[in-house]
């Protein structure tokens, strides 16, 4: 499925690899647990690496690894769970992460403006129908009261 990245529709080049599966060639993302358990093995992988973060995962624990990580996926269990907004902010502001931060899972197309403001630059929604909505909603506001990190 296509995704939105940096305000544009594009193809997704990444694949997520389950914890117990072999690592295929190419750009792969793995779970937060897998990263913590098998970092050395992963670093030998040819291709770029990504980590999938859940709401309860503390991004501080991968802060020192961020230069090896090209993609952080924020996996929304539910649009009402706002913890990942802070996780994104921490990644960009506190830890100076420069790579791709991608919202995946059950976020709402109506949350993408806020997500972009806390540093999320890519969106892989649960439904393809949401792609045009996301592109439009990224431009919901032209003004703001708080500093942005995007």
């Amino acid at each position: 499925m296509q995704i939105i990245k940096d305000n544009q529709l594009c193809d997704n080049a990444w694949q997520f690899i389950a914890d117990d599966a072999d690592l295929p060639a190419g750009d792969i993302s793995v779970s937060f647990n897998k990263w913590q358990q098998a970092e050395a093995q992963l670093l030998n992988h040819e291709g770029k690496l990504g980590v999938r973060i859940g709401s309860a995962d503390a991004v501080a624990s991968i802060a020192s690894d961020l230069d090896k990580i090209a993609l952080v996926e924020l996996d929304f269990p539910d649009f009402a769970d706002g913890r990942l907004f802070s996780s994104a902010w921490l990644l960009r502001s506190r830890y100076g992460y420069q790579g791709e931060i991608r919202a995946i899972g059950h976020f709402m197309p109506d949350q993408v403006f806020y997500l972009s403001r806390v540093g999320v630059n890519a969106f892989a929604p649960a439904k393809a129908d949401y792609l045009p909505m996301i592109l439009a909603n990224l431009a919901d506001f032209t003004v703001q009261y708080q500093a942005s990190v995007n």
Binding site: R83, W89, D110, V118, T142, A147
Partner: protein, 550 residues
């Protein structure tokens, strides 16, 4: 008062366009019911028992006459020609049509108003002292800081999907009239030894099912750090507040379960990392203060003689003056309460005609401004004494001068079972019955300062747990029953009311209340207030009489 600049105006205009688009997408089925619920709540729109309810933000309770006229117009055009004032200084409409709400919001935007974040699990309207800027016991006017907080909370991208709703109240006076000890964050303006203004920050207070008194987390915060400190608290709460149980999701539970010491440590650690990046400059503070300059008071206002003559000649005016006006820091001026507690009207309700008339009176007598109070009344903050008599006459003609402010019939009351889908029991009907039983104004005045708060369910929108007398509606096998509490207070000596005993049936509530009042009248010492007597004797003497026949 604060006037929007082009950025503020653009923001509310774009918010209207966004909600119009969201409503259209929902009506076309492109947004699910669940998603639209979260979006409409963040624009103040509930779906209630009979119809949607729209809650409009009144930042720290301040309104202009122009805004009031718009409220009256909206009531006439889109609702049933009345509106309701809430305990968070906001205004509600009970009968709007869902598809017309974007138009209502567009109308509001033309007078610098909105309904942003008046509901939902986000940072809500910041409330404050209704006597801000005029109170005799004020350290500094809190409104500029309220406005700074308002802007920071509005559309905050990181904190719009919190574990639960989040409420901030600010007090700038010695006497707390903003219930700051019962807010998620309470901000008190204080002076340090050098005479500089800063803030004492309280955290973890709240009402609802688990009433808790807030605790001091920062005894003195320099004013340039206000927003960074709030942000640090919010980030810790957003990351660690409980999301597994909505009844344990407020910050009060996080603070209680984490312990104040450890919670403070986490906040401090976070704050030290951000405080230098979010400094509030003196320039910014002064620019906002510029919006809250004192109006052009008349230097000779106190020299007017007509006022004293009216006081002597007209006992009804004198009674109203005593109960419905408050001291003002400028000689010759008073703050005037508009009582929305006429005996036969649901507390806090106003007709469109009354709203329009209040707007006219604000223009004529109080520099075109009005405030809402958390006890569901209005205030003209700056009335010179020569104008009190004609203002009283006009208010009397509109049934807005019932001399009962601070008395037993100045009841805080939620919409209850009549309107609210959460309620277990009626509250407006109970208020009406109590009013019918207490129809002797002299008796009411003799009782003095008694605050009755009535909520129709555990959510406690009418703050029953901090009422001197609290009445809480509960469902008992499909019937409406009421639990009574005594001794609560939301002011300086904050206290949560103690339960009197088993719940009483609906037809016994008024009797119980009059019995409680009789016990007070018989057993009070000298001019002891009701609250003081409850503190002295406890609940037993009341309990004995209320349950005597059971």
């Amino acid at each position: 008062m604060y006037q929007y600049n082009p950025i503020d105006q653009t923001l509310v205009d774009e918010r209207v366009a966004q909600f119009r688009r969201q409503t259209e997408q929902f009506l076309k089925g492109e947004i699910s019911e669940d998603q639209f619920r979260a979006l409409r709540l963040r624009n103040g729109l509930y779906i209630q028992t009979h119809a949607p309810m729209l809650r409009i933000a009144v930042p720290y309770g301040l309104l202009s006459s122009q805004q009031l006229r718009k409220i009256a117009h909206i009531g006439r055009t889109y609702d049933r020609d009345y509106c309701h004032l809430t305990t968070r200084q906001n205004i509600q409409f009970n009968w709007p049509k869902l598809e017309q709400v974007p138009d209502i919001l567009a109308e509001l935007a033309t007078v610098q108003m909105h309904a942003i974040q008046t509901s939902g699990n986000c940072m809500r309207n910041t409330t404050s002292d209704h006597l801000a800027g005029v109170a005799v016991d004020e350290i500094e006017d809190p409104r500029p800081y309220c406005e700074i907080i308002r802007q920071w909370t509005t559309l905050h991208p990181e904190f719009d999907y919190l574990p639960r709703k989040f409420k901030i109240a600010v007090s700038g006076a010695l006497h707390d009239r903003a219930a700051t000890q019962f807010h998620d964050i309470g901000v008190h303006l204080v002076k340090n030894a050098a005479g500089e203004t800063g803030f004492k920050i309280l955290v973890g207070g709240g009402l609802g099912r688990t009433p808790i008194i807030g605790q001091v987390i920062k005894p003195y915060l320099e004013r340039q750090h206000l927003l960074s400190y709030l942000e640090a608290i919010l980030r810790i709460y957003n990351l660690f507040g409980r999301r597994d149980n909505k009844y344990k999701a407020r910050i009060k539970i996080l603070v209680k379960e984490t312990g104040l010491a450890e919670f403070s440590r986490q906040v401090e650690e976070e704050w030290l990392l951000i405080r230098d990046t979010m400094l509030l400059s003196d320039e910014r503070i002064n620019a906002i203060k510029g919006h809250f300059q004192a109006p052009a008071y008349q230097a000779d206002a106190a020299e007017d003689n007509s006022f004293n003559q009216h006081l002597q000649n007209d006992p009804a005016f004198a009674t109203w003056y005593k109960h419905n006006t408050a001291a003002h820091k400028v000689a010759g001026y008073r703050a005037v309460f508009v009582s929305l507690k006429a005996p036969d009207v649901p507390p806090g309700d106003m007709t469109g005609q009354q709203v329009d008339a209040v707007a006219d009176m604000a223009d004529q007598y109080s520099f075109g401004e009005i405030r809402s109070t958390h006890r569901q009344n209005l205030i003209f903050a700056d009335v010179k004494q020569a104008d009190l008599y004609p203002l009283w006459q006009q208010l009397t003609a509109l049934a807005l001068a019932t001399p009962n402010i601070g008395t037993v019939t100045d009841i805080i009351c939620c919409p209850g079972l009549d309107f609210c889908s959460l309620a277990n029991a009626g509250s407006i009907g109970i208020t009406k019955e109590i009013n019918e039983a207490l129809d002797d104004m002299d008796y009411i005045h003799d009782l003095g300062d008694i605050k009755i708060n009535i909520s129709g369910c555990m959510n406690g929108c009418a703050h029953q747990s901090v009422g001197h007398i609290g009445i809480l509606g509960v469902d008992k096998k499909g019937a409406e029953w009421y639990q009574l509490t005594l001794g609560g207070s939301s002011e300086n000596e904050a206290a949560i009311g103690e339960r009197l005993g088993p719940a009483v049936a609906k037809d016994e509530v008024t009797n119980a209340i009059t019995t409680i009042l009789d016990v007070y009248v018989k057993q009070r010492m000298d001019d002891e207030s009701f609250l003081d007597m409850v503190k002295r004797v406890g609940i037993d003497p009341f309990k004995e009489q209320v349950y005597a026949n059971h």
